[in-house]
């Protein structure tokens, strides 16, 4: 293929992605000082691009074999109202968001509490890739290759007491960085929660990456929850606080429209949203003539999670 215009650029000429994303800070620090400092982002000058920092082995046991959606689709079609309510807003408006440095407060009914740097939370964890189905309550779906570790592995380290019946999560509240928070479309900060057994389930994931790369801002950098058998709004993003609590915690969407969104939010084709059907979904990437797909109970994870809800009226506890 002939190159129509421009000089020929070698792959080795291309600036590593993390340097490019952090270029203002790099320049401010000054190249000379940074070359000596090992703990700066310039450590990324090393052979592999830090953007692929989270290349991890796939956990086949918890991964689906469906073809994942493209990176463009996953990072360009998002519901993240902190950055605006259009699907393209999060990618467009999260460029100035700083996922680093990041601290997470862990508190509530547990023996070990405190505020921890993200690096310290991650260092004892083994990251793995998990290809999960994601079903939005709006009746569209994707297949996403997350990189992360089971939430259970994190929670165990903080020794929840017997009083801990639920886990509550909170997103950052910073309208300066998250322009959508200047509008009161939801009560900020975004909050979510899981019952203890749901939180400890091996499928429940804390994700730090996608497609082997660091999680982009619009996907909930630097740390987000993924609960594949529930509607996507349970996957709280940019987490700053995890609390063990006794009472069922408030969850943002349920608080904003209690008759439309519940605490459990299990994917269930038999229980419609009051205003639209949940029996089918449109798979993103299918194109103009693609047919809708039948929605699966628990988003296809029934074998792994149905037992958690035995005896529960899922129409009442939606």
């Amino acid at each position: 293929m002939s190159r129509p215009y421009g000089p020929h650029i070698l792959p080795s000429d291309i600036t590593p992605e993390t340097i490019f994303m952090d270029r203002r800070r790099v320049l401010a620090q000054g190249l000379a000082g940074a070359l000596w400092g090992a703990a700066t982002p310039l450590a990324a000058w090393s052979a592999e691009s830090a953007a692929d920092r989270y290349k991890a082995a796939r956990n086949a046991r918890y991964s689906v074999t469906d073809t994942p959606n493209s990176y463009e689709e996953i990072t360009g079609y998002n519901n993240f109202y902190e950055f605006g309510t259009d699907k393209s807003d999060p990618a467009a408006n999260s460029r100035n968001f700083k996922p680093s440095p990041w601290n997470v407060t862990i508190d509530g009914e547990c023996e070990v509490k405190g505020s921890f740097a993200l690096e310290d939370l991650l260092s004892p964890q083994t990251l793995e890739e998990r290809v999960y189905r994601m079903r939005c309550v709006e009746a569209w779906s994707m297949v996403i290759p997350w990189v992360g570790f089971p939430l259970a592995e994190l929670l165990k380290r903080y020794k929840p007491t017997s009083k801990a019946k639920y886990v509550a999560f909170t997103t950052l509240n910073d309208p300066k960085q998250m322009p959508g928070q200047r509008d009161r479309v939801l009560d900020w900060p975004y909050v979510e929660g899981l019952r203890m057994d749901e939180a400890m389930h091996p499928l429940t994931l804390l994700a730090v990456g996608v497609y082997g790369k660091v999680l982009p801002n619009q996907n909930g950098a630097p740390l987000r929850l993924v609960v594949p058998w529930k509607y996507g709004f349970k996957g709280i993003k940019s987490i700053v606080r995890i609390s063990f609590v006794e009472q069922q915690p408030r969850t943002s969407w349920s608080h904003s429209a209690p008759n439309e969104y519940g605490f459990y939010a299990n994917v269930n084709p038999a229980v419609d949203h009051p205003r639209w059907s949940q029996a089918s979904e449109r798979h993103i990437g299918g194109g103009l003539l693609a047919k809708r797909q039948a929605t699966l109970p628990f988003n296809g994870y029934g074998a792994e999670v149905a037992s958690l809800y035995q005896g529960m009226d899922l129409r009442r506890y939606f």
Partner: protein, 191 residues
């Protein structure tokens, strides 16, 4: 991502298409409703010639919007479509609005105007009902961010408000002139 040159339908092209056709139906309908106030306030009577064309374009986009939903989204599954329209009020509102547009489109010709005369005016007042159904349909299908339908609702309030004010003013003027033509019959003060 569906993209043709600079035009992109995005990751969910069906949803984008349905939304765009719907929004243009509302815009064209609102423009149709703008003609009379604009014409009466500016005296530019030539604007009247645009009204039928705008109305028919609104109908065309409404058909595209509905067809996109019936065919691309619902796959022409008759049983599901019927059950959905019955169960979901916002769909029933939308369907009704499109159905009401049909007699207006059919009677949009000069021949029809001549044939129906006064009844044509009465029939075409349905456009106000259609507009209200349309904005209601839009408002009820928005997930949470009502700002977009709110803008269209406020604009419609202005467009319809103009008619309300005009009717009140005309009624007062009629009453005043009736009084003027019958002196001595009443000692009522000026309205």
């Amino acid at each position: 991502m569906l993209q043709v040159g600079p035009v992109t339908l995005g990751a969910d092209p069906v949803r984008t298409l349905i939304h765009e056709c719907g929004i243009w139906t509302l815009r064209l309908l609102w423009l149709t409703l703008l003609i009379t106030p604009l014409r009466e306030l500016t005296g530019l009577n030539d604007l009247q010639r645009l009204r039928r064309m705008l109305g028919l374009f609104a109908f065309f986009y409404a058909l595209l919007h509905m067809t996109a939903w019936l065919w691309l989204d619902q796959g022409l599954d008759g049983a599901v479509i019927v059950s959905e329209v019955i169960k979901r009020p916002y769909l029933a509102l939308g369907m009704t609005a499109v159905l009401l547009m049909v007699p207006l489109a059919v009677t949009s010709t000069n021949a029809m105007m001549r044939r129906l005369r006064k009844r044509w005016i009465a029939l075409h007042r349905l456009v106000y009902v259609i507009a209200l159904l349309g904005i209601w349909h839009f408002w009820w299908q928005v997930k949470k961010d009502i700002r977009e339908p709110l803008v269209y609702a406020l604009l419609l309030a202005l467009l319809l408000g103009y008619r309300v004010v005009k009717a009140v003013v005309l009624r007062r003027a009629k009453a005043r002139s009736a009084l003027a033509r019958a002196p001595g019959k009443t000692a009522a003060p000026a309205l």
